[in-house]
Symmetry: C2
Subunit: 422 residues, 2 copies
């Protein structure tokens, strides 16, 4: 929903939902005859619970707050043991999140040599190469420059790789959880480049991290200049250590690994440097044996988060279907939802303001008849690109690729209400 439609009143709820709500409410009230019409005097006052009868916990416990103890299962999880210490990933619990943002404590991780502990007072960022004046910036220097704040998603190019060869059986956290969305604050790359003065022959930018892997990628200046940011804050506070503290690159819409964390060096160059990460890694093998290189933008994609694999529908009737859509090429234009495995589709509601290159939550109503169902979502972005079926994606790219899987996800519901990735 765009900001401009905020004043629109929601239409009335469908009758099926009303019935479902009524039944639930009756169950909760306990004393009511099921299905009876409600009257103003028909429900007993709520009992006063224990937590209202006594004072609660005191203030400032703790001075930096933590989630409710009832939410202890909402954590990052990893799909498999890391190949070596410090290398690997942890994934965002999408099925338990709401809205457009990922709280900092749940932003996914992907490290090549662990999380360095960097003293911000000692850290420096150098900009050099084809520039008029190479420069070294301290963190104080960076924070003094004009800043901007924008909401952008981040997605690992390997997200959903589990589904290339067919349904993996895994839950949404482990299929789609290399995906998060934050408000980022920092300096435009173009502001920094204005400071050093670019030589007209500079066409690419090499970005290098200060981690033990010295993670390094080459980026095409003309495709990143308009939006790229050098950021020091996420969701209102300084970056978290595992997200690049004290400073990282954000290249909106580009595959996660190009958003170099713990940024220490930007070099202006004529040609890509052909680093390890863009030759032996992060290329996409096609069926004919050739590889696609420098595939940067994450194409439009979506996934249903509730209900999804591992959930169980308790009863027939009304259920809300909700999930996320995103595109590395701009705003989400629309999301369609199917409950019959893609035979028929209908438009979902977008339930927040739609930002450029940000997670966009969607919802749709569904009356479950108690039979088998196949739940799918399909995103369309502002360029008109439509998220492909798995079959169309495989026909074009084969099954040897590790990266950029964006096929439509299917969640299968059986008669017991169990939801599976099958």
């Amino acid at each position: 929903m765009q900001e401009t439609t905020r004043k629109t009143r929601r239409p009335s709820l469908p009758e099926g939902r009303r019935d479902a709500m009524r039944k639930l409410a009756a169950g909760a009230a306990g004393a009511l005859a099921s299905g009876a019409a409600f009257r103003a005097d028909a429900i007993a006052p709520l009992a006063v619970p224990a937590w209202t009868r006594e004072p609660g916990a005191p203030l400032l416990s703790p001075a930096y707050g933590v989630p409710s103890s009832f939410e202890g299962d909402v954590i990052r999880r990893t799909a498999r043991a890391p190949a070596m210490p410090g290398s690997g990933s942890s994934m965002t619990p999408l099925a338990d999140l709401f809205g457009t943002l990922t709280p900092n404590g749940l932003v996914y991780e992907r490290h090549h040599a662990g999380v360095p502990k960097i003293d911000p007072d000692q850290h420096r960022l150098v900009i050099h190469g084809l520039v008029r004046e190479p420069r070294i910036f301290s963190m104080d220097d960076l924070v003094r420059l004009p800043s901007e704040s924008h909401v952008y998603f981040l997605e690992c190019s390997g997200n959903t790789r589990t589904e290339w060869k067919g349904p993996s059986g895994l839950p949404v956290q482990l299929t789609h959880g290399l995906l998060s969305c934050c408000e980022w604050t920092g300096v435009r790359l173009s502001t920094l480049l204005d400071e050093v003065g670019i030589d007209p022959s500079a066409q690419w930018l090499l970005a290098e991290g200060a981690d033990g892997a010295a993670m390094t990628r080459s980026l095409p200046l003309d495709r990143i200049m308009e939006r790229a940011l050098v950021v020091y804050a996420q969701n209102g506070e300084r970056l978290r250590a595992e997200n690049g503290y004290p400073v990282r690159l954000i290249v909106p819409g580009f595959e996660g690994n190009t958003n170099i964390k713990w940024l220490r060096r930007l070099k202006l160059v004529r040609e890509p440097e052909m680093t390890r990460e863009e030759t032996s890694k992060y290329t996409n093998l096609l069926p004919d044996g050739r590889a696609r290189q420098f595939v940067f933008e994450m194409d439009a994609k979506s996934v249903i988060a509730r209900p999804s694999a591992g959930h169980r529908l308790k009863e027939r009737g009304y259920h809300a279907i909700s999930g996320y859509a995103w595109s590395g090429r701009g705003r989400i234009r629309s999301v369609d939802v199917s409950t019959d495995g893609g035979k028929s589709w209908r438009a979902a509601r977008l339930t927040s303001a739609v930002h450029d290159r940000a997670l966009t939550p969607f919802e749709a109503d569904w009356q479950w008849d108690g039979g088998p169902a196949n739940l799918q979502s399909r995103a369309t972005d502002e360029t008109g690109y439509v998220q492909p079926t798995r079959e169309a994606l495989v026909a074009a790219r084969g099954v040897n690729s590790e990266y950029h899987y964006n096929g439509i996800q299917n969640w299968r519901v059986d008669e017991s209400g169990e939801v599976r990735n099958a």
Copy 2:
């Protein structure tokens, strides 16, 4: 900056800033002659720091992330000991935040009887009174309903009460820190009221919390219906215990205490119920002895967060001035900044998308000449309302009011660079 202006390239930096940056960079590089022109070969490569020479910390440490150990001072703080256990407030560290959002761990607290520990499976919300069908909702019921996500600030009506009688000497966290901004997700109040059916005679809504204080306020339906939300998530995850877990009311732009936490009851009524919190508390005493009652909207306000009291300017020349503006009556239209105590003003840049009733960060450039200065900011909202001087506010309201102080804040800079609330 509106979304539509994103493509605008920033103007070049003022020369004073360039000079300051150059000097800093030279200091960082160490080996350079101060003030000398840079050449492409004029800076030595950065030394490889210790944290690049060895693997970092492993993944999943912890599964729910925490801030960098270098950011241990960025915590909520309290201005004074609470009057009784569980009653009091803790404040958001505005001088250390960035962008529009407050991370959940730093959202301000104001409790009347501590933080209850509420089991979400047992919690119920009842809607009753002048309705066709009183109803009881479980948390599952609420999450099934159509949801929306919006970014809104929250401000305690007592925020900045310290400044009524003149400068308090306190830092910005303790003068303005009863202020936070989150993305909230939940159900429109109007959706819930559609479910129960409102009697046309219902003009007010009584909202009651499940805490030990049974915090209770009456709210005018016609002024809240368009925007009020019953929310269960903030910044992407379920509400924090201290912010109302598992469900609270959000009344965008209204004083904080009306956004009832731990919401258990909504009663549709003809007239305000004249609860304790709107008779003996939360009224505003005027000079003639009368009190303003039901003053809900927080008027437009702003404050400079950097530099602010307790900071020290290290050198003359370029400094960025940054802060926050907000209004309970709509969007921020503009922010002006003065460095001469309000004699002259110039427009600040708004550095994020401008949302309705949300914190709006601003920035301005400043060349400090080394002399005394008085830094002030002044917000104007979309209704045309201009934040008043302290003098104008006191002339209208006197100094006996506890609430709704929104005067222009002055930070005094002396020749040593020290910044004071004086």
